[in-house]
């Protein structure tokens, strides 16, 4: 590969980047190749010493992504937006001021949703515990029925007790799981908003 082909391959691989950035990159590599040749290497050796075109392009793109994450407000393209942050992604790409306003609104909304969720979660948790506990006296009653020979009423009480216990367990466990998933979801959205 000669210098012209090499630089053309780099330019092609950087397609999509800002033209000034691409030109600057090409100047950099052209200069290095020339310096290496001035220091005794042949054109082919100089180019070979730079490594594969693919790796060079990957390194440059990675470097550019880090730079834009460090110096600008907009989120780096590599920050993979997951489903929940579909709301956050367009927010990050608008102009600075509008973006800030939208981001603040999104944050406020997130807080409101959070409060609502926790109210519901706590209520369901308490209700679940109460319903589960209610099964205990029901169990005892059913035993009393059994020993006083009331077969039918025993069966009824037992059934009610089991149902109560089951629903109570479902509500409690379900709410705990929901809380856990909500925490994860909340963290993702917060991270996406803060980028």
């Amino acid at each position: 590969m000669n210098k012209y082909e090499f630089l053309a391959a780099i330019r092609e691989g950087l397609d999509g980047m800002e033209k000034s950035d691409i030109d600057r990159t090409l100047d950099y590599y052209r200069e290095i190749i020339d310096d290496k040749m001035d220091n005794g290497l042949s054109e082919e050796e100089a180019i070979a010493s730079l490594g594969s075109v693919k790796k060079i392009i990957a390194d440059i793109r990675q470097g550019e992504a880090k730079e834009s994450a460090d110096t600008t407000e907009e989120p780096a393209p590599k920050a993979a937006p997951t489903e929940p942050s579909a709301e956050a992604a367009p927010v990050g790409r608008t102009s600075d001021e509008a973006g800030d306003i939208l981001r603040t609104c999104a944050r406020v909304l997130l807080v409101i949703v959070g409060i609502a969720f926790w109210c519901v979660a706590v209520s369901t948790l308490i209700a679940g515990v109460v319903v589960g506990l209610a099964s205990l006296p029901a169990f005892f009653s059913s035993l009393v029925m059994l020993f006083t020979g009331n077969g039918a009423q025993f069966a009824l009480m037992l059934g009610g007790a089991l149902a109560s216990a089951g629903i109570g367990i479902l509500m409690t466990v379900g709410t705990v799981l929901a809380m856990r998933y909500y925490k994860r979801f909340y963290k993702k959205i917060r991270a996406a908003l803060n980028n």
Partner: protein, 106 residues
């Protein structure tokens, strides 16, 4: 080595390479490679980042009928180097303590 740590270390290395006199890409890599391995494609984003952070400036000078980019350290760049030196003085003394030979007290 921790990626973030290495990234920060390479940044100060590049600044050190241009501390005493302006230098250019090929020479920076040659000087640095005596101490730490760095490739041309690793150096490039570092130079861009340091320039964006105003730790160095770039200017072009003619050399052998072509234009060469020279990198010049700024006052902020020198301050960054000084901060690094101070920070690592402490790290070195801790390191010396950690690897100190065990004294047998019998």
């Amino acid at each position: 080595m921790d990626i973030q740590l290495k990234r920060g270390l390479l940044d100060v290395c590049v600044l050190a390479a241009i501390k005493n006199e302006d230098s250019y890409g090929y020479k920076i890599i040659k000087d640095m490679n005596e101490y730490v391995e760095i490739s041309e494609s690793t150096l490039y984003p570092i130079l861009r980042r340091l320039e964006a952070a105003d730790l160095l400036t770039v200017h072009s000078k003619e050399y052998s009928g072509r234009l060469r980019k020279y990198y010049h350290i700024t006052k902020a760049g020198l301050e960054r180097l000084e901060a690094f030196r101070k920070e690592w003085e402490e790290i070195v003394s801790i390191y010396k303590f950690v690897v100190k030979e065990d004294v047998v007290n019998e």
